[in-house]
């Protein structure tokens, strides 16, 4: 499976192939449902599942903020890895001084992590 001139053509074909892999069986299942087992919807059957009892209240409510705090810390470190990747690719030709410089950059972020740890943000309550 050697590479060809345009890699994006293959990615496009792969995307279409994966979509077909998902959509063709869904279509077949729908065909089966239409011909052999027509759906019989009902109030109980199409209700939201909740342990056999009627669902109380809506699920689309305000959620606990702890999840978002983790998301913010994740964002910081994800952007950091984006900065680290170009450094990592050229690491073979860098001097020890450049390595120390990037370690100082890392240290600044570690400081942030330690601060968050001290604040108790990282402890799940």
């Amino acid at each position: 499976m050697q590479t060809d001139t345009s890699p994006y053509l293959l990615l496009l074909v792969l995307m279409v192939g994966a979509l077909l892999l998902a959509l063709v069986p869904i279509g077949l299942a729908r065909l089966w449902a239409l011909t052999a087992s027509p759906p019989k919807p009902g109030a109980e059957k199409n209700a939201i599942y909740e342990c056999g009892l009627e669902s109380k209240g809506d699920a689309w409510v305000q959620f606990r903020p702890q999840y978002y705090i983790y998301a913010i810390i994740f964002l910081v470190f994800d952007v950091e890895t984006v900065f680290l990747l170009p450094f990592a690719v050229s690491f073979g030709g860098l001097s020890a001084g450049a390595f120390v410089a990037i370690m100082i950059f890392l240290l600044l972020l570690v400081e942030g992590l330690v601060w968050a740890w001290q604040k108790g943000v990282l402890s799940w309550k």
Binding site: A18, A22, I26, N46, I48, Y49, A59, L84, F91, L113
Partner: protein, 391 residues
């Protein structure tokens, strides 16, 4: 002979493509590659589902599936027919469009991620310069799908499962990428093909796999733990814990859409295990020089099956983590450990080769492991094991 056998699929594809007229050749070549990828990994998925149920059965002292076909090997076929004929129930209150799109958004990116994995010598679908970055970029889309499924179902269990899944996946994505950065630092490239080729050289008959170095072995362990969490495998299966959330984010899915979630999760597991093999276990290369006569693709798939066996074994052995343990482990142990591993990789390059380099780097890894373990667990050394019901 060994050379022919090794390149047999490459030769087969070149032969098939030569039948197509000139301007159609790129498209035909792409279609053949895609058919090979989808066919291979979809069959591997079918095989793995039955192997997993068999393996878990053995671990739990029961038989597992043994009725459909010899030794239950045709079970996936029966499951497929069942998934196709089940009624597709969508809750009345659900957001129908997003509910329909979520399984597609899961299946397409995990297959795209497979495109950059070299499964054999000269056997890679696309050799992108930034292959690793591409893998992580499409791998991150699965988080979107999980949230789409959980949110659109309008079910409390599925929303809670989706929230947990997002928190878990983003927390473990940081150590996952950071542990791969060490490999990039010492390989000097983001191309998966080149990373494997650099590991496929032999010193004293032993391959130069990254896992045979202090930073590589630490990175590999971190990578595989994060990979288990990324693919929502036990012991990190909080988002879909049957006993607490019934099935988590895909509770409101039935019929073939449910099967697609199943497919997507397994293909995602193969993709991330394949990346672990590519980065740390030498991809398609043989461990010893005298074994390199065996075709390269057999090595890749043997390693993949080995890692899948470990995943099944872990699932049958370990209990599920608690939410606070899960988050503490990600942020207070995995992340600092991955950062220390970056420093170790730097030291590895700047220190002169030999025994001292090995001793210093191993000492830093083990020291960080002990110090962090003490900081997180709050005690020195492992606690004494007590068997509550067996004493």
């Amino acid at each position: 002979m060994a050379e022919t056998l090794d390149q047999i699929f490459v030769a087969l594809k070149t032969w098939l493509v030569s039948f197509a007229p000139g301007q159609w050749q790129p498209l035909v070549s792409a279609v053949i590659s895609v058919a090979a990828i989808i066919g291979t990994f979809a069959s591997l998925f079918a095989l793995t589902t039955v192997l997993e149920r068999k393996g878990l059965g053995r671990i739990q002292n029961r038989y597992g599936p043994n009725r459909v076909g010899p030794y239950g090997i045709l079970q996936p076929l029966a499951d497929g027919v069942k998934a196709l004929t089940k009624e597709d129930v969508v809750p009345r209150k659900a957001d129908r469009v997003v509910h329909f799109l979520a399984p597609l958004v899961l299946v397409v990116p995990v297959f795209l991620a497979l495109a950059v994995l070299p499964v054999g010598r000269n056997m890679v679908a696309v050799d992108l310069d930034a292959g690793l970055l591409f893998f992580f970029a499409v791998g991150a889309v699965t988080e979107l799908s999980v949230f789409m499924a959980g949110w659109s179902s309008r079910n409390k269990y599925s929303l809670l499962g989706a929230m947990r899944a997002i928190a878990q996946m983003i927390s473990y994505e940081v150590p996952l990428i950071l542990s791969s950065v060490t490999v990039v630092m010492l390989a000097g490239t983001l191309s998966t093909v080149e990373i494997v080729e650099q590991q496929a050289v032999y010193t004293h008959g032993l391959a130069d796999w990254n896992v045979f170095t202090p930073w590589g072995s630490a990175g590999f362990i971190l990578f595989m733990i994060a990979a288990a969490a990324e693919s929502n495998r036990s012991p990190f299966d909080l988002p879909e814990g049957e006993s607490e959330l019934i099935a988590g984010y895909y509770i409101e899915y039935s019929g073939f859409k449910f099967a697609l979630f199943f497919l997507g999760e397994y293909i995602g597991m193969f993709a991330i295990s394949g990346l672990g093999i590519t980065l740390f276990l030498g991809g398609w290369s043989a461990p010893f020089a005298f074994l390199s006569g065996i075709p390269s693709y057999l090595w890749f798939f043997a390693k993949l099956m080995g890692l899948i066996a470990v995943f099944i074994w872990v699932r049958g052995t370990l209990p599920r983590l608690r939410m606070d343990q899960l988050m503490n482990f990600a942020w207070k142990f995995m992340l600092p450990m991955a950062l220390v591993n970056l420093v170790v990789a730097g030291l590895w390059r700047f220190l002169p080769g030999g025994v001292t380099r090995w001793v210093i780097c191993s000492a830093v890894v083990v020291g960080a492991y002990l110090a962090l373990g003490r900081a997180v667990s709050g005690r020195a050394g492992p606690a004494r094991r007590s068997y509550r019901f067996a004493d």
